[in-house]
């Protein structure tokens, strides 16, 4: 009889625990991170010798489509047409490697902004959503506060700017302000920013909005290098960072558990020659807990259940979207303490020059007033 009582007790405990789990499920479901994924992929360079930038962007487009983000959620901007360019010996193809195995252009590609439409103004309008009313849906970034957005930029850049089509630039301040507008309008949940240009790390220095993670292919003062030329096509096919990034992404499948720490390890200095950098201080979660598929794929949280979950009982805490993120803590966050570096050679030299000129003009007799 004791055995029966013990069995009944364990059964009761099990049932209550299972019941408690079911009760927790709606809470877990509503407190999960994102519900949809978007990608904005931009190639900013024109002319045939910038073939590699279009190949970069198309490789990321291909990976993102393969992992599940549909064309309606991808805004692809290509500043020039390489595939059907008359200089291309193999029309309608863009290759990433000189063995010509992988045609990253593919057979099912939809380019939303092409040619002269890729301008700084259009890019910022897509990000902030301030588009004229007649813009079609495929050209809009219709994200909400539960969207994870991947933004990939490639082209020619410098310290603090990125060149668009040889005629205009976007500065890192403008980009940071655009992301702040997006945050204030709640146009993203989390944003991953990847840039593959020379001195790319300068583009994410000025970010100040929360939930941003940034990766760049090179530090300030370094150039991002291209991978290899192809003698038949005549130009360099791809940049090193994106080449190794594509290699890494080809191993990712929709149910992969690889996280951002693996992404930071892509293309070390031995392969890339430049030093890739990343920035995670504005990201609220631990990068190790952010999956690659959170940004590159479109994995939905689907929980299949056979039981009925009673949602009429009030959930303990009301989850309004805005309240889930500790906004006040973020806004009043103290700026990160920057390490003190001794002044570099230029500043020292400048001060020496000023002092020399001063003393030459006014003579040594004034020294005693100083000392």
């Amino acid at each position: 009889m004791l055995a029966i009582f013990a069995v009944q007790l364990t059964l009761a405990v099990l049932v209550t625990s299972v019941f408690a789990c079911i009760q927790y499920r709606p809470l877990l479901f509503f407190s999960s991170g994102h519900t949809n994924n978007w990608a904005v992929l931009v190639c900013t360079s024109r002319f045939w010798f910038n073939y590699r930038h279009v190949a970069n962007t198309l490789s990321v487009y291909r990976s993102v489509k393969r992992l599940g983000i549909p064309d309606s959620h991808i805004v692809l901007m290509l500043a020039d047409d390489m595939a059907c360019n008359h200089r291309n010996p193999k029309p309608a193809t863009v290759f990433s490697h000189k063995n010509m195995e992988l045609n990253v252009y593919g057979d099912d590609v939809e380019v939303d902004y092409r040619g002269y439409e890729v301008t700084v103004e259009n890019f910022l309008r897509v990000l902030t959503g301030r588009l004229p009313p007649s813009t079609p849906r495929s050209k809009r970034l219709l994200s909400d506060d539960r969207s994870n957005i991947l933004i990939y930029l490639t082209g020619h850049g410098g310290n603090g700017f990125l060149k668009f089509q040889d005629s205009e630039e976007i500065s890192n301040v403008e980009l940071a302000d655009a992301f702040e507008q997006m945050w204030q309008k709640r146009r993203y949940n989390e944003l991953l920013f990847i840039i593959d240009t020379c001195q790319g790390a300068s583009m994410y220095e000025r970010f100040y909005s929360p939930n941003l993670m940034a990766l760049a292919s090179s530090q300030v003062g370094e150039d991002s290098l291209s991978h290899q030329p192809d003698l038949a096509i005549g130009v360099h096919l791809m940049d090193r960072y994106t080449f190794y990034l594509l290699e890494f992404l080809e191993d990712i499948h929709p149910s992969s558990k690889a996280n951002m720490n693996d992404l930071f390890k892509v293309c070390p200095k031995s392969q890339c020659v430049s030093t890739p950098g990343h920035r995670t201080d504005l990201f609220l979660r631990d990068p190790g807990s952010a999956l690659i598929t959170d940004f590159f794929g479109s994995v939905r949280k689907v929980e299949i259940t056979m039981e009925t979950i009673n949602l009429t009982e009030p959930i303990q805490q009301t989850y309004s979207y805005v309240d889930q993120l500790p906004v006040s803590e973020i806004i009043h966050q103290k700026p990160k303490q920057k390490d003190w570096h001794p002044p570099d050679g230029f500043i020292l030299g400048l001060w020496t020059l000023i002092l020399l000129v001063f003393f030459k003009t006014y003579g040594m007799k004034h020294l005693k007033h100083i000392f």
Partner: protein, 585 residues
């Protein structure tokens, strides 16, 4: 065993009941719904015409006919074969006719003859709106934006600076009695590139997509590796019967491609479907009521110079482009066409053949030197030995080439040829382009030359494209005419005929309609040196700094006499003497 008893206008619902494991009995219950489903019909066809230069011309046409009414407040919500995106565009913007084409390459009339459906290089869009539209310009702008999203093209660059309203060319190709040209808009973008991203959404408009039927052959890697590639969408209302009691909407998607003889490597006059498209056909589109391939064997029906395999006994004759031509027909809806291997790979072999000289063809070029002035020459050739016929020339020149219309001359055979109708709308800077329409009578067997001088304008430095040294494009001229035909044309448009011969409506028996496009022009405008603002700022700042600085010093510095400083030894001695308290040297 399924037994179906249906009345044609009723909607039938089938209920399958499984009596036992191996026998399924279907019982159909006919329920007549209150609103009859409008009839829609889909046909697909491919015409292959070997050209005398060894190239081969393939023309695909996909036609969907739908007996519905988009206008008069009808809300159409059930789409079957007709693509929903285009249906919504027609009803929202009150479009009566829409013609859009994307072309890569230029059609060489003298080498290839006349195309079934002509198109200019780049993108061309012309639309007839319904007369219920109040603001045509606003609707046009919205329509171009929506189409740019549907076809992944930069059609949003179409605005008032490149849109014209032709008064005589581009009359409606479908039914309709509204000919007020205020409802017509025509624009071209000669710079527009065509690539896979335009083909992808075009293929998605087809009922079978690119999964079955003739669309299986449309692979971008082969289609864009050609001398000429053009894809188009044409929407217009047509009559269903002779009295025109019922009208239906017709959507035609056409794709014309000319494959170059020398591209695949070998120079033999031998082509097969696999060589052209890298695919073979295995089935027709199940939704198509007719799916046919026509091969033009007119020049050699006996088969001596010309060989087609697998052979077929189906022959058909059609009146196309003023000529009676014979075609071998392959019907893909018949299983026997695919033979035992279940796939169809047509092989065409022929020896070199002569070509009939096209009756009408045109050329255009820019003459002159320098970056200030120039002259546009348009040449129109009438190759008919004894008949003359009138042609309508439409020229739309951008505002930055300022035409001097007083220098317009039209000469044929050395003599002045005065046009019987001229419509000229001058341009307005940054608002609208020049529009010149003329009706010119071309004498038989002659060349007519139209020349006009122009001056190039200076653009503002923000108006230049990112690559201004490439040049600026001027769209093709359009020459439309009714060309006298050798054989009597068929004016009964509702008779069953192949799609390629029924595109342009035929009103008279003795002539047929033809449209010829000239080459687009590439003109260099005087381009500034874009590094000059930077240079000017540097120079100015240097001059100001040096000049102002020197002037300031001269004005404010006072000069004092100073004794020359003693040498180093004397200075050291002075320091020691100071330390000792002794007066210096």
């Amino acid at each position: 065993v399924c037994v179906r008893v249906c009345v044609r206008v009723c909607v039938c619902a089938c209920v399958c009941v499984c009596a036992c494991v191996c026998v399924c009995v279907c019982v159909c219950v006919c329920v007549c719904s209150s609103v009859p489903q409008p009839k829609d019909d889909f046909q697909e066809e491919l015409v292959i015409r070997p050209l005398h230069s060894g190239d081969i011309y393939a023309s695909f046409q996909f036609r969907t006919l739908w007996e519905t009414d988009f206008m008069r407040g009808n809300k159409v919500s059930h789409y079957r074969l007709f693509p929903k995106s285009l249906g919504q565009v027609i009803s929202k913007f009150s479009v009566r006719e829409l013609h859009i084409s994307f072309t890569q390459g230029y059609w060489r009339t003298m080498q290839w003859g006349q195309p079934f459906l002509p198109s200019p290089p780049g993108a061309e869009l012309w639309v007839w709106f319904q007369d219920s539209v109040t603001d045509v310009d606003g609707t046009w702008k919205e329509l171009t934006n929506v189409l740019s999203g549907i076809f992944c093209a930069s059609l949003n660059f179409i605005d008032s600076t490149n849109t014209v309203q032709p008064s005589a060319s581009f009359k409606p190709l479908g039914i309709g009695n509204v000919t007020d040209h205020r409802f017509l808009r025509y624009a071209t973008l000669p710079r527009e590139i065509v690539c896979t991203e335009n083909l992808t959404p075009w293929k998605k408009l087809l009922p079978c997509g690119s999964k079955a039927g003739l669309a299986v052959l449309l692979k971008s890697e082969k289609l864009f590796h050609s001398s000429f590639h053009s894809q188009a969408v044409h929407i217009r209302p047509v009559c269903q019967d002779w009295q025109c009691k019922t009208t239906s909407w017709e959507l035609r998607q056409t794709l014309n491609v000319v494959f170059d003889l020398h591209t695949p490597g070998q120079g033999k006059l031998e082509w097969s479907l696999f060589k052209m498209f890298s695919r073979t056909l295995t089935e027709a589109c199940p939704l198509a009521s007719s799916s046919k391939i026509y091969i033009d064997i007119t020049d050699d029906p006996q088969g001596e110079q010309f060989e087609v395999s697998p052979a077929t006994h189906l022959l058909s004759q059609a009146m196309v482009l003023g000529d009676r031509r014979t075609f071998s027909v392959y019907d893909l809806t018949q299983q026997i066409t695919f033979g035992t291997v279940r796939s169809l790979n047509l092989l065409i072999r022929w020896k070199s053949r002569d070509m009939l000289r096209p009756l009408l063809h045109a050329e255009r070029y820019v003459a002159g030197y320098g970056l200030q002035t120039g002259e546009i020459h348009t040449l129109m050739y009438n190759n008919h030995p004894y008949r003359s016929f009138p042609v309508l020339l439409l020229d739309s020149v951008p505002w930055y080439l300022r035409l001097y219309i007083h220098t317009l001359t039209v000469t044929s055979k050395g003599k002045d040829n005065k046009p019987s109708y001229i419509h000229y709308q001058p341009s307005k800077d940054r608002v609208r382009p020049h529009l010149l329409e003329m009706l010119v009578q071309l004498p038989p067997n002659s060349v007519t030359e139209v020349t006009v001088q122009f001056e190039r304008a200076l653009l503002k430095w923000t108006e230049y494209t990112p690559d201004p040294n490439h040049g600026f494009y001027v769209g093709s001229s359009v020459i439309s005419s009714l060309v006298p035909s050798i054989v009597a044309m068929d004016t009964n448009s509702t008779r069953e005929q192949p799609l390629f011969s029924s595109f342009f409506p035929c009103k008279e028996e003795s002539s047929y309609f033809m449209r010829v496009y000239t080459e687009p022009l590439l003109v260099n405008l005087p381009t500034p040196d874009f590094s000059m603002p930077y240079n000017v700022i540097c120079l100015t700042c240097t001059v100001v700094a040096v000049g102002y600085g020197s002037l300031y010093n001269l004005l404010t510095r006072s000069f004092q006499i100073e004794e020359p400083s003693p040498g180093l030894a004397k200075r050291i001695a002075n320091i020691i003497r100071k330390m000792r308290g002794v007066p210096p040297l």
